[in-house]
Structures are given as structure tokens and as C-alpha cells.
Subunit: 179 residues, 2 copies
């Protein structure tokens, strides 16, 4: 296939589900001002989809440790969950949301800070409840966990090797078990 | 600024260094078949630049532990090193090199496998030389270290917070010190 043919095929693959639901370009731009507005709404949708998966799994856990392990399990098995198409919206959007789309950049920023704050509070709560050892740096651990998860997805995206993601997720699990 | 003005400014910023060296579009396409060929050569250039920085720092270290710590130091202080403009070429290229550019995708894949193999061998060598504890899973540790570094860069790229990268790099250092 030539480059032009591959691009053409990619566009068809990506837009096929849209046309399959009866949406036309006219109906999209009748509801959104431009492509940037669609990208913002799509990011919100994908993040909310992810948060719903995580929340639904978390309410079934009894300990904070098990709740933290939900992140590892959901991201390591996201083929089994109704995960957003294309993988992690944070990873996919960070390198794309450059200075030409400041609103999208701001949304990715908020999503990471929000995730980091939520995990930090969970760890602090675990320490307060004496489920975790005292003296842990909660924010550093939260950031490390997020970095491991996103890095693991990146490595598997680049190499296609699912066992590489699995290996890093094992380390993330070890980090949580050591709290 | 409107979206069009921001895009215009970004193009000017990115191409300014090229025109500054006297290169014209004509001279680029006189030497490369197309934009894809330029992207491949640019990726090779940036990866080699990175490897040179790492190698130059490594030869000054006496222990394998100190050699491994070079990765953490170089990536954590890459503003101080003559790092490729724009950050980590692996991170920036992974989400861009989709199915429309299989050669670039293949290069990113090779770069990660090569990095992972090199770190794995260093850890194995450290175990053989009794510098590291026995029984470590060298490949899992190598992948975890790479995921932490790439994840840390991603978090700082998305949030602009250098101290978040620093926090994750502290965890990476701890991982190496615990070997």
C-alpha cells in the first residue's frame, strides 16, 4: 500500500463507526463549532468512560489496597473492559495537544492532576487507617504509579508486546503491596 | 490568537532553525524523497544524540549502579544537556507513528527493544559481578525503569510541573539503589 492508500484506509476505519450510526459531517458541524470542539468533547467522553470503569470496580473492593490495585488491573486488562477505543486518552492526547490547542492541553493537565490527587488521598487515608505503613510519601507514590501505568501502555503501544505491559504492571502491583 | 494564528506561529517556530541554516524546502526535497523520509532521518538523529549523551556520561562511572543512574540523571536534567529539541523522541513519536508510517513505527519499536536489552544486560552483569543481589528479574526491572522515565516525562509534558518528574525520578533512583 502507498502512503496515500494507508492514510485513506485509516480515515475510513476511524470514521466508519460514525457513519455507521447515521452521523454525517453536516450533523457533526451542525452541533460543534469546529474540529477542536469535537476533540474536547471526545476527550471528556473517554475520560468519563475510564472513570466509570474504575469506579464500578472500586466499589466492589473492601480495602484501600485492593482499591488501588483496581488501577493496575483495569489498565492491564483493558482489552477485557469497554475501554475507550485507541487506548489511554491521556497518553494519546498529551503529545498531540500542543500549543495550537490550549483548551485540550488544559483538559489533559486537569485529568492528570485529578488522578494524582485522588490516588494521593487514597494512600493518605490508608496510612491514617493503619492499613499502610506510616512515613510513605503519598504524592510521590501516586505519581510513580501513574508514570508506571502510562509508561507501560506506551511501551506496549510501541512494541506490540503485551507481556512488557504485564511486566511493568507486576512492578506497580509490588509497589502497592509494599505500602 | 486564533487557532489559525497559533498554527501559523508554531510552523514558523519549528521551521525557523531550518531557514536560519540556509536550508530551503527545495534543498530538503532535493535530498529526501518526501516528508516521511525526513521524519525517519530526524528520529535517527535524535536517538543518536540521546545515546551519545548517555554513553559520554556512562564511561565516567565506575560501578554498574552508577551507570544505571545515568539514565535517571540525564532524563531528569535534560534541560542541562544538549537534549533533542522537544523532549524524548520515543515518547513524541510513539503516538504519532500510526499505521500510516510503518517504517517510523518500526524504528520506535527497535529503539525501545534496544534500550530494554541494554539495561537488562547491565543488570545481569551487575548480578554476575555480585554488585547487585541475586534473584532479580532483570528484564522486568529494565522495563519498569523505562516506563517510569517515559511516564515521568509524559506527566511533566502534560502538567508543566518539573517537580512531578523529579518525584518519579526519585522512585527510579530508589529502584536502582535497591538492586
Amino acid at each position: 500500500m502507498s502512503k496515500a492508500e494507508r492514510t485513506r484506509q485509516l480515515i475510513v476505519e476511524k470514521t466508519a463507526p460514525i457513519f455507521n450510526t447515521g452521523l454525517t459531517k453536516g450533523s457533526i458541524y451542525g452541533n460543534f463549532a469546529n474540529k477542536d470542539e469535537v476533540a474536547l468533547a471526545a476527550f471528556d467522553h473517554n475520560i468519563q468512560k475510564l472513570q466509570t470503569i474504575v469506579r464500578d470496580e472500586m466499589v466492589r473492593q473492601r480495602t484501600i489496597r485492593d482499591q488501588l490495585l483496581v488501577y493496575v488491573r483495569v489498565y492491564d486488562n483493558f482489552m477485557k473492559h469497554p475501554f475507550p477505543v485507541g487506548g489511554c486518552p491521556i497518553l494519546n492526547t498529551t503529545t498531540e495537544a500542543d500549543s495550537t490547542h490550549p483548551q485540550l492541553k488544559s483538559k489533559v493537565n486537569e485529568a492528570i492532576i485529578d488522578w494524582k490527587d485522588r490516588v494521593t488521598r487514597m494512600i493518605e487515608k490508608g496510612v491514617d487507617a493503619k492499613e499502610f505503613k506510616p512515613g510513605v510519601n503519598a504524592e510521590q507514590t501516586a505519581l510513580t504509579l501513574i508514570a508506571m501505568i502510562e509508561g507501560a501502555i506506551l511501551i506496549t503501544m510501541a512494541t506490540g508486546k503485551l507481556n512488557y505491559r504485564k511486566a511493568v504492571m507486576n512492578s506497580a502491583e509490588k509497589l502497592i503491596m509494599g505500602l
